[in-house]
Amino acid sequence: MGLQHYYRCGMAGLMLGMLLGSSSLQAHPHHWIDVFAEWQFDTKGLISGVKLRWLFDDYYSVLLVDDAVTTGEELQAILNKILSNTAKHHYFLQIEHEGGEASLGTHEQATIGVQNHRIEIEFLLPITVPLDPRHSDIVYQIAEPTYYFEMLHAEESPVIVLKDAPPSCRYRLEPPKPDAALVAYAASLGVNESGGDGLGIQFAETVTIRCE
């Protein structure tokens, strides 16, 4: 008994943990998208739309492009497919203002391109009722609901632009703060498993836009 006993018990515990904890090959997320956002202000200082740019990871880009090349599909068709599918999920964008969710129009001015072998799409989302950032903060999050894709603002700058904004406007970006239990859960999800549609948002950044 003594120290060695504890050591052995610890080892046994570790092995048990390994067994119970092992469930899958690879954890969520499987792909990622670097996001750029340009918030457009009208002459009255209201936010009337947002131009989003999504840069897909190299691997996913390979899968998309290669498919397009061999099936003779145009990149444009891929763009249309992505946008019509994501439109059903509010383009993965959630804007909160004055206690409610802002309503988004349909995408406009959509383009697709290849940048450094990575697929990049850009589109403008009009905001149906322009938001006034002077009275209350505008808080937005971008996330693919199932967290199969991780969507974060890109690390290069400028990643968030407040276009034509009054000089008193600024934004702050808070990194996601998922707790360890949640991360452990995401880590346990295999490539074919889903953690539900509420997982992605818990790994999303929170951006606040404020004008005083």
Partner: protein, 335 residues
């Protein structure tokens, strides 16, 4: 090993933190904005969850770093040692995360008597076979047979399914073997109880009679255990490591076939190191447990039979569950 882990930690720390950005000339608000999502879910976080979270964060970091490294190698001369080293570290780490290969090997070694070098050989063979599977799958199908990179995902999925079916077979095989031994032991114990004064030398040691005491090294090397060992190694090795598939597909597209192959070799060696460490732990843990439980008592063979059956059942259930989840395809939302 610890130096390596510390080093990996250091890389990740420097690469983290996406700081608050402000408009030029503006001052940060000190007021915290409302944070609806993380509304303090106060609950105890276990050490296991913390460890899993740490491994997850590092894997995610490596995933991106591998992609970046490949991108930078494009059009350059040289072996790309940085990529090989990174792949090696990824292998070490990836194998430390949750994964079915480790579960299978640990379950087998914990529940079946094996010699230490058998465990080591199993771990090494399984890890290297995983690399070979990825190489054959990607370079063979995409490079030689002209498949689409996307189609290798389907091929990987089927390779994984074959490995699960194989695993289920191994589990069933072990379960049946253990059950036969168990019944034999029970029959013998009953027989002995009824014939207390019976001359012990009279009974016959048939193959399934279960008259085993602690098995000797020679006894462990039965044909049955060799079949099971090969089955376990194949079941683990046939399922390609997703990191290896990723690197190889990118390497194919980027015209970095050799770099990709070296990277996968590095990855397999890394994986082997972790899996072998785990195999040693499992073998030692079992040896210790069997030394504690009993010494050459007939009850021990009963217990060993029970544990062996449990191990077989565990592998069988794991395989069926994995097989089931592999058919529940979940496409990413709209992408």
């Amino acid at each position: 090993m610890f130096i390596v882990l510390a080093w990996m930690g250091a890389i990740a720390f420097s690469a983290e933190s996406h700081a608050t950005t402000l408009l030029p000339g503006e001052r940060a608000t000190t007021e915290q904005s409302r944070d609806g999502n993380h509304a303090s879910t106060e609950r105890a976080v276990g050490i296991w969850e913390l460890a899993a979270a740490w491994v997850w964060a590092k894997q995610r970091e490596f995933h991106r770093a591998l992609t970046r490294e490949l991108r930078e190698l494009r059009g350059k001369e040289g072996v790309g040692w940085a990529l090989v080293l990174m792949s090696f570290l990824y292998g070490v780490l990836h194998a430390a995360g949750p994964g079915h290969g480790k579960a299978v090997l640990t379950a087998y070694l914990l529940t079946h008597q094996s010699r230490l070098n058998r465990g080591i050989a199993m771990g090494t063979a399984a890890a290297l076979l995983q690399g070979v599977t990825a190489l054959v799958l990607v370079y063979g199908l995409v490079g030689l047979a002209g498949w689409l990179p996307r189609e290798t995902e389907t091929a990987s999925l089927w390779a994984a399914r074959v490995s699960f079916i194989l695993l289920a077979t191994v589990g069933l095989y072990l379960l049946v073997g253990a059950a036969r031994t168990l019944f034999g032991t029970v029959r013998r114990l009953r027989y002995e109880a009824g014939h207390v004064h019976h001359d012990h030398d009279g009974h016959v040691h048939g193959e399934s009679c279960g008259c085993r005491h602690l098995p000797t090294a020679v006894e462990i090397d039965t044909v049955g255990s060799r079949h099971a060992t090969a089955g376990v190694v194949l079941a683990i090795g046939l399922r390609p490591c997703s990191g290896a598939v990723l690197v190889l597909i990118l390497a194919t597209v980027m015209d970095l076939m050799w770099h990709g192959a070296f990277a996968v070799i590095g990855m397999s060696v890394g994986t082997a190191i972790t899996i072998v460490s785990l195999a040693i732990l499992a073998t030692k843990a079992r040896d210790w447990a069997s030394a504690v439980v009993a010494h050459r008592s007939p009850l021990w063979s009963l217990a060993a039979g029970g544990v062996g059956a449990l191990g077989g059942a565990l592998l069988l259930l794991l395989a069926l569950w994995l097989l089931n989840t592999s058919f529940v395809m979940k496409p990413a939302m709209g992408l």
